[in-house]
């Protein structure tokens, strides 16, 4: 048996070993104490053997007892030391994994071309065509709107559908159940609306400000949607701004007043009409066998508000879907219903 050196405790290996096996850190203090599994009392061997001899001379039962005893021993080790060891192991492994990921990502970044350089693979004939012929083919001054709503309109259709599906999932998860006759369950509603207990309800100043601000926000969102093919913006951002105005209205005037113009049927009809219009407008070329780019609508003069064919109605459709979806997210998170 080798003799330990006197300064063994202060050597790095010893400190690492101490830290790994039975050290103390704030991490397991926070986590493990919250779990609050009580460590079982250490088993007294003599008492246990006497107990086993007393109750049974049967060998089988004795074996079972011993197995149970060992099982308990393992459990106590897991509760006392094993979780600590596992936590240390976990921390070290996650640290190594993070270092590995950082290494690979930085290597990849180092091999990427510089921002805006001519030799980057992103600059090819597709980009050149978008930039050179985008204005002629789509009629949109804003080249991004021409790209996402004309060349790549299917992407945007997918995005809107994903939002709609997310709203449906939230609706399924968070909606308050109703009784069989259709009336809402009062206890659940009381429980859900209790979180508004301390909030200022029917605040005069907030209502007065909202009366002025909500139309301005709506107007700004509608401007961004309608001007999406001429200036930066478009359906997605404009819809988000409109939904922000709706949320402000809901917060200041309460659910009763907001429910007068926005119900489940509003949500479902607006989403249904917008999405089906979008899908029909962009998939009719599948059935007619025509060029997907040509809509039959004259492109008009670039720069006018009524120009660039289908981009303007598609922007409106996307904006309506986004506004309804964001608003219904908020209402469902807040109250579990409209």
């Amino acid at each position: 048996m080798s003799k330990k050196r006197s300064d063994w405790e202060s050597r790095p290996q010893a400190r690492i070993k101490k830290w790994f096996f039975d050290g103390y850190s704030a991490f397991d203090d926070e986590i493990i104490n919250q779990i609050s599994v009580k460590t079982p009392d250490p088993v007294n061997h003599a008492v246990y053997d006497a107990y086993i001899d007393e109750i049974s001379a049967n060998k089988h039962e004795r074996k079972l007892m011993i197995e149970k005893f060992e099982d308990q021993n393992v459990r106590s080790w897991i509760n006392a030391r094993g979780r600590k060891v596992f936590t240390r192991f976990y921390v070290i492994l996650s640290f190594l994994l993070a270092c590995l990921m950082i290494f690979f990502l930085l290597r990849t970044v180092a091999e990427m071309p510089r921002f805006g350089s001519e030799t980057s693979p992103g600059i090819n004939e597709v980009t050149a065509r978008y930039i050179e012929k985008g204005l002629d083919e789509t009629g949109a001054m804003n080249i991004v709107a021409g790209m996402i709503l004309d060349y790549r309109a299917f992407d945007t259709l997918g995005e809107s559908t994903v939002l709609f599906i997310a709203a449906s999932a939230v609706l399924i998860l968070l909606r308050i159940d109703r009784n069989k006759d259709g009336s809402p369950v009062m206890e659940l509603i009381a429980e859900e609306s209790d979180d508004r207990h301390y909030e200022p309800r029917n605040d005069r100043i907030l209502q007065g400000a909202a009366k002025v601000l909500v139309p301005i926000i709506f107007l700004f969102g509608i401007y961004i949607i309608l001007n999406g093919h001429l200036s930066p913006g478009g359906g997605f951002s404009g819809g988000a701004i409109i939904s922000a105005g709706l949320i402000l209205y809901l917060d200041s005037f309460g659910f009763e007043k907001a429910g007068r113009f926005f119900t489940y049927s509003t949500f479902s009809w607006v989403s249904f009409i917008s999405l089906s219009f979008y899908a029909l407008a962009k998939t009719y070329s599948f059935y007619m066998g025509a060029n997907g780019m040509e809509s039959g609508i004259p492109l008009g003069t670039p720069g006018a508000i009524l120009s660039s064919g289908l981009i303007l109605p598609l922007n409106i459709a996307v904006g309506m879907v986004v506004a309804c979806t964001m608003y219904i997210f908020y209402a469902l998170f807040r109250k579990g219903g409209l």
Partner: protein, 113 residues
């Protein structure tokens, strides 16, 4: 001459607005009580943003930018005080001892402990 006047005016307004904002931030960190902090943040924010945007209007290239900046000022002057009012109202609703203001430092020490 006119360019210099514009530059000096916008510089003066921007610097004063930034100073007011810095004062507001110092106040937010210095004060102890919610309503005091709210007061510092709201006042400094509103006035600082007004001065900064006025400084920017002097530098605007055309009249439409000036118009948009004035709209932004109106919007912020509507929304920022309402925010502060809501914070203050929440505090008054939730804290039953708010009417003992102004709180002395000893009282605050007691409340902390």
């Amino acid at each position: 001459m006119l360019d210099w006047l514009r530059f000096i005016l916008s510089f003066a307004f921007l610097v004063s607005g930034l100073l007011i904002m810095i004062t507001a931030v110092v106040g937010v960190y210095k004060f102890d009580y919610v309503l005091n902090r709210m007061h510092a943040a709201a006042m400094g924010d509103t006035l600082g943003i007004l001065f900064c945007l006025i400084g920017l209007t002097f530098n605007a290239p055309d009249i439409w930018t000036v118009f948009k900046l004035i709209l932004i000022i109106v919007f912020l002057w509507f929304s920022s005080p309402v925010n502060s009012h809501l914070i203050a109202r929440l505090e008054v609703t939730m804290n039953p001892q708010w009417h003992q203001l102004p709180l002395s430092p000893e009282h605050l020490m007691e409340e902390d402990s």
